[in-house]
């Protein structure tokens, strides 16, 4: 019976310590406007990326919820740059930098996707094939990176 009492006591001690730790750590994690004003406020950030041979560098962009995000992409391929979840789609033109801004209001991990344009196929075939290319274009979702929005 004594062992049992000892075990219970140990367990409770650990549990109390953990509760204390949880309360203090969640306090520091929570937005604390009085302590750390600068880090707690949303900021405007710009992320430059390049897309070469369908490889995005850097392929992970991390921001904090609420940030005003500007994304700039230089691509060697024409097509649509898609931020899934945010449903932002923009056309990329080879040789011109694509730039767009939005507020990262949704926390989570979202994909950067490329919807390539299939110009070569369009030129090769007759009008009959154009229709098919159009559907193909809509189908191809190539995941090229991730957009990570940490919760505030």
């Amino acid at each position: 019976m004594n062992t049992k009492l000892l075990l219970t006591g140990c367990g409770f001690l650990i549990l109390v310590a953990l509760t204390g730790w949880y309360l203090t750590s969640s306090n520091t994690q929570a937005p604390a406007p009085t302590v750390n004003v600068v880090a707690g406020q949303p900021v405007a950030v710009t992320h430059n990326m390049s897309l070469a041979k369908r490889i995005l560098t850097p392929d992970i962009t991390t921001v904090t919820q609420g940030d005003q995000v500007t994304i700039k992409v230089m691509s060697d391929e024409a097509g649509e740059f898609h931020v899934s979840g945010y449903e932002i789609e923009n056309n990329m033109i080879v040789g011109t930098e694509l730039s767009f801004s939005f507020t990262a209001d949704k926390a989570g991990r979202y994909n950067f996707e490329l919807h390539p344009k299939m110009e070569e196929v369009e030129e090769e075939h007759d009008s009959n094939a154009t229709e098919e290319t159009a559907t193909n274009e809509a189908e191809e979702d190539i995941v090229i990176g991730a957009f990570v929005v940490n919760p505030r």
């Binding site: 367990g11 409770f12 750590s25 990570v148």
Partner: protein, 470 residues
């Protein structure tokens, strides 16, 4: 927090070129559980194990064994909704969902986001029905559309005077056909690259339907569903945790997890449960940086992905068997009981289910909540033909329904609760099995270590950044 997020991002960035491991279907939007929560969860698991070991007494175990049951058939409204006639519309709904999803897979838009089949298979069936079975009861036994279609066909054949006799599945087969097919299912989900592509998926569903109908005709419907059909077996194991129990035509309400007591699994049942446990962990585990690094190292040597992925899934299964058998051996040795290791293994295997269920829910709840919304626009326009049957065709998935900070806490709390239930069930099983209270207490140490390890593994997986891009 800023620094943590930065470091997570850096880690992710460094690991992205690793092999992309395809997960069934649906994008995870949840982020890894932060380190402090992971440590607190792990600590709570250990602390509560101590407390339970100290507080648990023979009386509590007897109380668990003589759990209260309530006969739902005594309620008139329940009798009404559980009557065979009232269930017909529900069965029809599931048959229609299956047929429309299949047609959508074959002829519909081949973009997985606009096709019903991937969502029906990977979200509705693999996650939705699993959750329902684990908590409410074995709904699959009622709504299984393959069973319904077979019953209808059987009735028609009987009407036109055609009957056949089924041969029972030979006893040595045990659950092995189900084990084989369940492994194939998890392989398609985690290893093959076609899990989310509608047309290949519809071929697989048709193949499954063909196997199921043929085997039901040969071995008998109930026999096959009980021992050969991977989903029926899977759902029936999960539903032992649930709050309802079907016995001799009556339906009883019982406390959750009570159905895990007084069980004794056969060899193949033990193997199936271990496969279930390992495959529930596989989806999360194989996308952790550790495994992705291992995989990319193997791939760079020139070993093809199918070999690497299959080996990964199989070795995870083997590891679960080895570890569980090892701990059963320890339990047997430390308690100095005369029973064999296998006898211990088959008695305690069910006590691990609560942790698996807790992990399953913690891991998949975000996908169910986010990707499950797809069904709203898909049912209005299953073929992307511009229809709007229910007026929901223009529905857009809302990502804000999920608060990540709340989700993290829920995930950790779920694992801790699952662990506590598992430990209590193991205690109660030990009290009955060993009869001697000293033996029963001592026998708990190895199982407790195993459970702490398993719960912490579940927490660890959730604290890992997800590496695979797709």
């Amino acid at each position: 927090m800023r620094y943590t997020s930065l470091s997570i991002g850096t880690v992710l960035a460094a690991l992205i070129p690793a092999a992309a491991l395809a997960h069934g279907f649906g994008q995870r939007i949840d982020l890894p559980v932060p380190l402090y929560l992971y440590l607190i969860g792990g600590g709570a698991v250990v602390a509560l194990s101590f407390i339970l070991l100290g507080l648990f007494s023979g009386r509590l175990s007897e109380l668990l064994h003589d759990y209260p049951r309530f006969d739902l058939m005594r309620l008139r409204w329940f009798r009404a909704i559980a009557s065979p006639i009232a269930l017909v519309p529900l069965k029809i709904v599931f048959v229609v969902i299956l047929l429309v999803a299949l047609a959508s897979g074959i002829w519909g838009d081949q973009n997985p986001a606009f096709n019903m089949l991937p969502t029906v298979v990977w979200i509705l069936l693999a996650i939705g029905v699993t959750f329902f079975c684990a908590f409410i009861g074995n709904i699959w036994n009622v709504v299984n559309p393959f069973k319904t279609l077979y019953e209808w066909a059987e009735t028609i054949f009987h009407k036109i005077g055609r009957t056949w006799k089924s041969e029972p599945l030979p006893a040595p087969f045990g659950l092995w056909p189900a084990i084989l097919m369940f492994f194939a299912f998890r392989w398609i989900e985690n290893v093959s690259f076609m899990s989310s592509d509608p047309r290949p998926l519809s071929t697989l569903v048709l193949l499954y339907a063909f196997i199921t109908f043929t085997c039901m005709a040969i071995f008998g419907k109930d026999e096959w569903l009980k021992r050969g059909d991977p989903f029926s077996v899977f759902f029936s194991f999960f539903s032992r945790f649930s709050i309802t129990e079907v016995k001799e035509g009556a339906i009883y309400l019982r406390p959750p997890a009570a159905g895990l007591l007084n069980q004794s699994a056969t060899l193949s049942e033990t193997a199936f449960i271990l496969l279930m446990l390992s495959s529930v962990a596989a989806d999360g585990m194989l996308t952790t940086p550790f495994f992705q690094n291992l995989f990319s190292a193997l791939l760079s040597v020139g070993i093809p992905w199918f070999v690497v992925g299959t080996a990964g899934l199989a070795s995870l299964f083997a590891a679960f068997i080895a570890v569980y058998y090892g701990f059963s051996f320890l339990t047997k040795t430390i308690s100095e009981d005369s029973s064999s290791t296998f006898e211990v293994a088959r008695r305690f295997i069910y006590s691990l289910l609560p942790i698996a269920i807790a992990y399953e829910v913690a891991h998949y709840v975000s996908i169910l909540v986010i990707e499950g919304q797809r069904i709203l626009y898909l049912i209005s326009d299953p073929f992307r033909a511009g229809w709007n049957l229910f007026g929901t065709a223009d529905y857009e998935i809302s990502y804000t329904v999920l608060n990540l900070k709340i989700l993290w806490n829920v995930q950790v709390v779920l694992i801790v609760i699952g662990h506590v239930i598992a430990v209590m069930i193991a205690h109660a099983i030990a009290d009955r099995f060993f009869k001697d209270s000293r033996k029963s207490l001592i026998s708990q140490y190895p199982m407790l270590v195993l459970m702490i390890f398993y719960s912490c593994l579940s927490l660890w997986i959730m604290a890992q950044p997800i590496v695979a891009v797709e």
